[in-house]
Amino acid sequence: DTAVSQTPKYLVTQMGNDKSIKCEQNLGHDTMYWYKQDSKKFLKIMFSYNNKELIINETVPNRFSPKSPDKAHLNLHINSLELGDSAVYFCASSQPDRDGGYTFGSGTRLTVV
């Protein structure tokens, strides 16, 4: 019974394609995030949603579009994929009081060829 689940786990696709990554949490958390871990291993925030509302959009190309149909789901759609988009994308959720940190999904390894 996974708390934060994201699919797919692996995604290999060609440049120029459009792809989506889905994320769902069953913790009842109000806030969800997308983080990107690049080849240098940094975890960088991309987006944050609180109760379906966009809170943070961190200088991410507009080819990346998050969608939150409800507070339990935060999907990430990427248009016109580029080689530099290859990374591991992590979804996470939390309560806004910050206690206990984030609960992360297991990640989606995206490889653009």
Binding site: T31, K41, F42, N50, I55, F104, G105
Partner: protein, 112 residues
């Protein structure tokens, strides 16, 4: 601008000994700090946190120390166990910022 830095990419210790992982930050607005542990092919899992009103927080074998004047925190694991082998991320957040800023991780290897 890397606001959270973990200057040691890797650390190797013997089972039973102490592991000390270090983290430095530059943003004086950070007031809440966390450590996460990450195994391969899994997401990071929350380990322990500390608020800036404290200088120490302990949870079993894990203790986090915060030195605000030096903008430095450390994670002590005593005694270290082989199952502790993982990548450890330090993270920091500022009240109202709505996000955590992560370091680039330290790979800990605990040898039996």
């Amino acid at each position: 601008d890397q606001q959270v830095k973990q200057n040691s990419p890797s650390l190797s210790v013997q089972e039973g000994r102490i592991s000390i992982l270090n983290c430095d930050y530059t943003n004086s607005m950070f007031d809440y700090f966390l450590w996460y542990k990450k195994y391969p092919a899994e997401g990071p899992t929350f380990l322990i946190s500390i608020s800036s009103i404290k200088d120490k927080n302990e949870d079993g074998r894990f203790t986090v120390f915060l030195n605000k004047s030096a903008k430095h925190l450390s994670l002590h694991i005593v005694p270290s166990q082989p199952g502790d082998s993982a990548v450890y991320f330090c993270a920091a957040s500022a009240r109202g910022a709505g996000k955590s800023t992560f370091g680039d991780g330290t790979t800990l290897t605990v040898k039996p």
